[in-house]
């Protein structure tokens, strides 16, 4: 893997295109694909929150100014794509991102299974935030079963998050 560096220091700067733009665009593309009205054997595919993967990974790899802004903008795009209230997913994902950022000193360096649990808890925080925001905003309770299924399929995406962490965690040694 090749990273662009301008200064020969121990802390190599990571290329924003590789660690921010590519995962974001991939997630938006997958969200669009899963939102197509296609039935497989008469069943509609699930609707996971793909952006949860980079939101978790970015906070685990290193704190930065850009990820919250990218999350907010891509969350807005998802809101428009799904027809959700503007700001719902941006706000909820930021909540999850902030949670991982706050707990990264305790949880980083654990094994894959513990990281999976950490990721699943983060997904739960994001779903709960979206649930509560909808509840307060519309004065109506969304389906708990629906929210549970969305959480479950999103939590099942951890292997992709693990791949991204493996790829980028050595990029900036100051945050090891």
């Amino acid at each position: 893997m090749k990273f662009q560096t301008s200064r020969q220091t121990a802390a190599r700067s990571m290329d924003a295109w590789n660690w921010l733009a590519v995962p974001t665009l991939t997630c938006l593309m997958l969200t669009l694909l899963f939102a197509l009205p296609i039935r497989i054997f008469g069943l509609l595919p699930p609707e996971p929150v793909f952006l949860m993967v980079p939101a978790f990974v970015w906070a685990v790899i290193r704190p930065s100014i850009l990820p919250p802004i990218v999350l907010m903008v891509s969350g807005l795009l998802i809101d428009i794509l799904w027809g959700a209230p503007l700001g719902l997913w941006g706000f909820s994902l930021l909540f999850g991102y902030a949670g991982v950022l706050a707990s990264r000193s305790f949880a980083s360096g654990q094994g894959q299974s513990m990281n999976w649990v950490w990721y699943a808890i983060t997904c739960l925080i994001v779903e709960l935030t979206a649930y509560l925001v909808t509840l307060i905003d519309l004065q109506a309770a969304p389906s708990i079963v629906g929210a549970f299924w969305q959480w479950a399929v999103t939590a099942a995406l951890y292997p992709f998050a693990h791949q991204l962490i493996e790829r980028f965690e050595d990029a900036d040694v100051r945050f090891k």
């Binding site: 301008s6 200064r7 669009l32 509609l44 704190p63 850009l66 969350g75 027809g83 503007l86 629906g146």
Partner: protein
């Protein structure tokens, strides 16, 4: 390019604090957007230009991406039709025989209805034009249940218009642009639709919750609904036309009455958008405003002699005037001496009803 590669390369900021600040700023911006968003309202401007622009970009891409899947579906259906042609033919013959019976019943009912309408002078709803559109995007999460259809303002689609599939009501339009329209499904948590129970005429509000079966809220009356009752749009408030099929009532596991949507019976690939206008919009508002009540000064002064007469006598001629057209007609056609009294006694009943029936379409 990283931020540290530019003129700011020597600027040292504590990254964790800077990231936390960025989270707070973005979070506040998100919260502000959330509070200002009102996608469920009937106002066209509530949808926002940003949404229209993104929808217009996404719709053609989604159309192209779903085309191979459509081809595969058509191919699969073709193969299925070929192999199951005989059984399908038998099923269709049976269905055709059953539908012929329904057709005869419908013709008879139509005839009776038209006679009643002529007799009572009921003003019925005007026919509603519609456009057919293809669904290109389908969001089905717990927090948003919407669809994007490829027909928009250029075909007369407006915010608030009802959308139907082959089987029943799907939702209503919440946003339109050139070539696109966003449909808020009945299952969306922001959807609230006035409905009625066909059997009892009881009113309720159909509220979505992101699940497949929306709930029946604000049910009134004693035992207003039973399992399997047909649910129709009530037309209350003039938002939707009355009588659109919605689904059947079922008791949910949580004890709430829910609706199994008719639209779920078949895949919703194509939808019909009813170009419905609120009937109050159809009325000539200027003419209504122009006609004023007569001024109070024109009322004649009370005559002293009329106050002597009993009220029954004074009101009698007026009542005879109203009933006369209905009452005289049977008397002329039936000259039998005993019958006319019965015939003249019966008509006042239907006369009282039309005032209620005629008032309904106005809403």
């Amino acid at each position: 390019m990283s931020l540290r590669d530019g003129p700011f390369q020597d600027l040292k900021v504590p990254l964790t604090w800077a990231a936390a600040m960025a989270v707070i700023v973005a979070g506040v911006a998100g919260l502000g957007l959330l509070l200002s968003d009102r996608r469920e309202t009937y106002k066209a401007e509530a949808y926002g230009a940003g949404r229209v622009v993104v929808d217009r970009v996404v719709a053609p891409a989604a159309n192209v991406l779903s085309t191979p899947a459509d081809w595969a579906r058509v191919l699969g259906n073709g193969i299925g039709d070929y192999f199951f042609a005989v059984s399908e033919n038998r099923r269709l013959k049976l269905e055709n025989a059953r539908l012929r019976q329904w057709r005869d019943a419908a013709i008879a009912l139509e005839d009776i209805n038209s006679r009643y309408r002529a007799l009572l002078g009921v003003k019925i709803d005007p026919p509603i034009p519609m456009v057919t559109a293809r669904v290109v995007l389908d969001a089905r999460g717990p927090f948003a249940n919407t669809r994007l259809a490829n027909a928009g303002q250029e075909r007369g689609v407006r915010v608030g218009q009802p959308v139907m599939s082959d089987a029943g009501l799907v939702g209503r339009v919440v946003g339109t642009g050139q070539g696109i329209s966003r449909i808020l499904l009945l299952t969306d948590v922001a959807s609230h639709m006035p409905v009625l129970v066909d059997r009892t005429n009881a009113r309720a509000i159909l509220s979505g919750d992101g699940g497949p079966n929306p709930t029946l809220d604000y049910l009134r009356g004693i035992d207003p609904v039973r399992n399997g009752d047909r649910i129709l749009s009530s037309g209350d408030g003039g938002v939707l036309p009355r009588g659109l099929p919605v689904g059947t009532a079922v008791k949910g596991l949580d004890g709430h009455w829910r609706v199994r949507l008719s639209a779920d019976a078949v895949p919703i690939d194509l939808v019909r958008i009813l170009l419905f206008k609120d009937f109050t919009d159809l009325a000539a508002q200027k003419a209504l405003q122009a006609s004023k009540m007569p001024p109070l000064t024109d009322v004649p002064a009370p005559v002293a002699s009329s106050s002597v007469l009993p009220p029954a006598l004074t009101s009698k001629p007026a009542a005879a005037k109203v009933v006369a057209p209905v009452a005289v007609k049977p008397a002329a056609t039936k000259p039998a001496p005993t019958k006319p009294t019965a015939l003249t006694a019966v008509p006042p009943k239907p006369v009282a009803k039309p005032s209620v029936a005629a008032a309904e379409p106005v809403r």
